[in-house]
């Protein structure tokens, strides 16, 4: 079953084209990787799907309803959750309260605060932040804040989770732990994931399919093995070799 479908989606800021005619489909339960050099349009694609920004052209469909142009809160309520590349925790709130908000407002809403806290605790357990539940979110380390970002998105009870570079800036050990966490989440929760990542090894280990963007356009799509050997992809990352 197709969960997400983008048809010819474009976004430009004044004269600058960030995304041009992007079409893609994501089936329920899939993990799809999104890669490309800086400025390729990956985060823009996320922002359009999650309603943080409106597309300039094209259509976005989620579970048979058209969602382009709808605000971010509406996207969250129908089951699209995202993390931010530069983390945006509710720094002044306790870690657990970051999740309580999401559980009270997100896709599957809890009716009471105590039920929301129960959900929050279960998720904090799952992502390994249980011990930090009562600390102010701003006091977490970067790795902790990245985990919180994922945990808060999960607390909305999403169907589709968009992970924007949750591994960036982590140490090698932390990357391995985070990958393990993402895999476990996907297994247990019947989630659909789109993952933006620069860590190539992580993408190839995690994703069944990878989509490559270059200057706002899709230049390749396929299983990781094909993508890694695709000449156009290699050129886009390393610059075209003179032949």
């Amino acid at each position: 079953m197709t969960l997400l479908r983008l048809e010819n989606v474009g976004k430009s800021y004044g004269g600058v084209v960030a995304l041009r005619g992007l079409s893609l489909t994501v089936a329920a339960g899939e993990i799809v990787g999104l890669m490309g050099a800086n400025g390729a349009g990956k985060t823009t694609a996320f922002s359009l799907i999650a309603g943080t920004q409106r597309p300039s052209s094209g259509e976005i469909w989620f579970a048979d309803s058209r969602i382009d142009g709808k605000p971010a809160y509406a996207a969250a309520r129908i089951g699209i959750a995202r993390t931010f590349q530069i983390v945006r925790p509710f720094g002044g709130l306790r870690v657990i309260d970051n999740l309580v908000v999401a559980a009270l407002y997100g896709h599957k809403r809890e009716v009471s605060r105590s039920l929301a806290e129960d959900r929050a605790r279960a998720i904090l357990d799952e992502v390994g932040l249980a011990r930090d539940a009562l600390r102010p979110a701003a006091s977490l380390t970067l790795a902790g804040r990245k985990r919180l970002e994922v945990a808060r998105a999960l607390a909305t009870h999403p169907r589709l989770l968009l992970l924007d570079e949750v591994l960036a800036g982590l140490t090698a050990t932390e990357v391995i732990e985070a990958l393990e966490m993402i895999r476990a989440l996907h297994r247990r929760r019947n989630l659909t994931l789109i993952v933006i990542e620069h860590v190539m090894r992580a993408l190839t280990q995690l994703c069944g399919r990878i989509i490559v963007l270059h200057h706002g356009e899709k230049i390749a799509e396929g299983v990781p093995r094909e993508i890694l050997t695709n000449q156009q992809v290699i050129d886009s990352y390393l610059g075209a070799r003179s032949r």
């Binding site: 509710f90 709130l93 309260d97 407002y105 006091s139 808060r152």
Partner: protein, 306 residues
């Protein structure tokens, strides 16, 4: 079972309310007048904190809700009984907040602060203009309730205002407001409809100032727009929030008691320099206790974090 601390807190609060209610039996009119003042500022600051304290949107417009409440009561004077007029003052202010909030809440930060101040001045001059057009040069209310009745009514309003802040803070609405205060974009990403949450709370937070304005015009017995819509009301509320803190119920309570008692004391002892001393005190608080008294007490009371 309720924890012992909560039981003690509730018992203490009930006892304090009873003592307050019996105050007119022990002190004279001067004392009751000061107590009425304290209760008024508690009611105003608690309702202001419900919106501005929780959402981080600093409103300098709450004087307009106070003024409109006063105006509604004056217009309805002797047309309907007071038990109808006073609640209608609250609703009138709420309605105005709904209308003003719609455009004002589109901007953030300093722009919102300035806009609320501007809009409240704008409404003030509309009232001044229409009163002038009607040929009314101030309105006198004769036969208003006694000071003690107004005091007991204000006590009730102050309690309602505190309970309302507590209820909103611990509700879904409160969680949404705090998320908006921390990061509005991230709040949207987890499903918080910021526009609706802010507008609803802005409206709710105007109800109490409307009622307070209605009650206080019965105390002064004379309506004059420049006084009723005086922006100093807004500034004083913010001052109280700075002194006490505005994040939770005890903050505005502490701030209001401190400010009114200090003002009375200074005004009686050193009338020439009392505003200067208050100003210096405010600057000192902004610089050295930016989290307010409540925040400082909480920080000192909580054990040091590793």
């Amino acid at each position: 079972m309720m924890p012992l601390r909560k039981v003690l807190l509730i018992c203490g609060a009930v006892l304090a309310v009873i003592c307050c209610a019996l105050l007119p039996l022990v002190v004279g009119p001067y004392g009751v007048g000061i107590a009425l003042n304290v209760l008024m500022w508690i009611a105003l600051a608690e309702s202001w904190a419900m919106f501005s304290g929780l959402s981080g949107y600093i409103s300098l417009g709450h004087a307009v809700f106070y003024g409109v409440g006063a105006y509604v009561t004056v217009l309805l004077w002797q047309l309907v009984p007071l038990w109808v007029a006073i609640p209608l003052s609250g609703f009138g202010a709420g309605l105005l907040a709904l209308v003003l909030g719609w455009p004002c809440l589109r901007v953030r930060g300093p722009y919102f602060v300035i806009l609320t101040l501007g809009v409240s001045e704008f409404v003030k001059y509309i009232v001044i203009g229409s009163e002038a057009a009607l040929g009314r040069n101030g309105r006198l209310l004769i036969g208003t309730p006694s000071l003690v009745v107004l005091f007991e009514a204000m006590l009730l309003v102050a309690i309602v205002s505190m309970v309302a802040l507590y209820v909103v803070r611990s509700s879904r609405l409160g969680a949404g407001l705090l998320a908006i205060r921390e990061d509005e974009v991230a709040a949207g990403a987890v499903g918080v409809n910021a526009t609706a949450v802010k507008l609803l709370t802005f409206t709710l937070s105007a109800l109490v100032p409307g009622v307070v304005g209605g009650l206080m015009i019965l105390r002064s017995t004379y309506f004059e727009p420049l006084q009723a819509f005086n922006p100093t009301t807004s500034f004083t509320i913010v001052t109280i929030a700075i002194l006490g803190g505005s994040d939770d119920v005890p903050g505005p309570l502490l701030g209001a008691v401190l400010l009114v008692l200090l003002s009375e004391l200074l005004w009686a002892r050193a009338p020439e320099v009392y505003m200067i001393i208050l100003g210096v005190l405010l600057v000192a608080f902004v610089l050295f206790v930016p989290e307010g008294l409540l925040g400082r007490v909480q920080r000192l009371a909580s054990p040091a974090k590793p």
